[in-house]
């Protein structure tokens, strides 16, 4: 899209940013992320319906951060990831320029984060419709059927951790999974260890998942692991009326509490 290229060129020329993160078409015709530091090379930027990857995960990578200020092409999930990263003090808001993309693919002009905040507030913050439908379907199953479903799905897991690597919220430099004292997650792939890993991942993303579905797209064996985090995103809203990534000073759901949190299962 030419106006993304023009905007990126303008930002790089005026030295407002040192790198722009966007999408381009790779040599095999597949959309891939692009990191442009030269204002003469911004023409490769595109935006179409195949540009699904959540680019916000690159904002916390030191290889990208060392360029300096970053411009980023951001659809709604990316904007929410950015808000979440700022609220968790992982990204400095002054270092980010957001090239927002509206739901119908138009370039939005965000003068500062408050404008982006207003845009996010106006948008639909629930899970994507097709995932929400799938959640509803799964929730209708009996307990044995659910267990069989997940046992079968998770037995495919090869422990490549693509779900972790693709997630903008999984930014820990040393994941507890990589520690072997204590070894919470077995290194080899087996169904029970895979289940433990996916429980751990979903629990660590409870109240933080911004429902982009990137983990499910990244999975090489097509485990719908995004449904686990989306279920918790859904329940976070049910119980605590919080949508992750809506404001830059939101409090983490799992590290705060209200004395009158309601539950019905503790006797």
């Amino acid at each position: 899209m030419s106006n993304i290229a023009a905007k990126a060129k303008e930002l790089l020329e005026s030295n407002a940013v040192q790198v722009v993160i966007g999408y381009e078409v790779g040599p095999t015709g597949v959309v891939r992320p692009a990191f442009v530091t030269d204002s003469a090379k911004t023409d490769s930027f595109i935006y179409n319906e195949n540009c699904l990857q959540n680019l916000a995960m690159y904002l916390t990578k030191h290889e990208v951060k060392h360029f300096g200020k970053m411009g980023i092409v951001a659809t709604l999930p990316v904007m929410r990831s950015i808000m979440m990263l700022i609220s968790e003090q992982q990204v400095v808001s002054e270092n980010i320029v957001v090239l927002g993309i509206s739901d119908d693919g138009k370039l939005l002009d965000f003068a500062d984060l408050s404008v982006m905040h207003a845009h996010i507030e106006k948008s639909n913050l629930g899970n994507p419709t097709k995932d929400q439908e799938r959640l509803a379907e799964l929730n209708k199953l009996s307990i044995e059927e659910k267990f069989n479903f997940w046992e079968q799905e998770l037995s495919k897991c090869i422990k490549c951790y693509a779900c972790r690597q693709s997630c903008p919220m999984c930014y820990c430099i040393r994941c507890s999974t990589d520690c072997n004292q204590p070894q919470w997650i077995p290194v080899q792939s087996n169904t029970q260890g895979n289940l433990d890993w996916h429980v751990l991942r979903a629990m660590h993303l409870a109240g933080r998942c911004i429902s982009c579905g990137e983990c499910g797209r990244a999975c090489p064996v097509n485990i719908p692991c995004h449904l686990l985090t989306m279920q918790l995103a859904d329940q976070t809203y049910n119980y605590f009326k919080v949508h992750a990534g809506t404001s830059q000073d939101m409090k983490s759901v799992m590290s705060t509490f209200e004395p009158n949190d309601k539950e019905s299962f503790i006797i």
Partner: protein, 150 residues
């Protein structure tokens, strides 16, 4: 199934439920011996991964218990734990892990009789449910696979 004795592991906080369980003993109240108590500094310390490990190591049921809300020795540990359990329960329900096998409760240091009741009801419920076959089967699959590979 009559000779099935459920294995139940209890994760309790040091300040309320552990003291409560102590009181059960000093009050000479009898309760099911299927429970193995593990003492924690606070319910806020009880990591959900411990519960996962408990089931994978062959437990049939779990009890988690701590101070009543507003009674936490560390002021807010049990409130944090409550939020975590809400999320954990929702995730377990979604993944088809039987939440009837896990009891969450608040038992204070003065509630010796209540601790006996919590243990007895949990043990009898797990006894009715039988051994956690589905989970054990999943755990055993890879052990069998490894044995055959060797």
């Amino acid at each position: 199934m009559s000779d099935f004795e459920p294995k139940v592991v209890a994760f309790v906080c040091n300040w309320c439920t552990y003291a409560g369980a102590d009181l059960t003993g000093t009050s000479r109240i009898k309760y099911a011996t299927n429970v193995k108590i593990i003492r924690f500094p606070c319910t806020g310390r009880i990591d959900f991964m411990l519960l996962q490990k408990t089931f994978s190591n062959g437990a049939d049921g779990i009890i988690i218990s701590g101070c009543h809300p507003n009674d936490c020795h560390y002021t807010s540990g049990n409130f944090h734990a409550k939020r975590r359990w809400i999320m954990y329960k929702e995730l377990m329900d979604f993944m088809g892990i039987d939440m009837n096998r896990i009891t969450f409760s608040w038992v204070s240091a003065a509630e010796g009789a209540r601790w006996a009741e919590v243990v007895n009801t949990t043990v009898s419920r797990v006894r009715e449910l039988g051994p956690y076959v589905a989970y054990k089967k999943m755990v055993n699959t890879h052990i069998e696979e490894e044995v055959t590979n060797e």
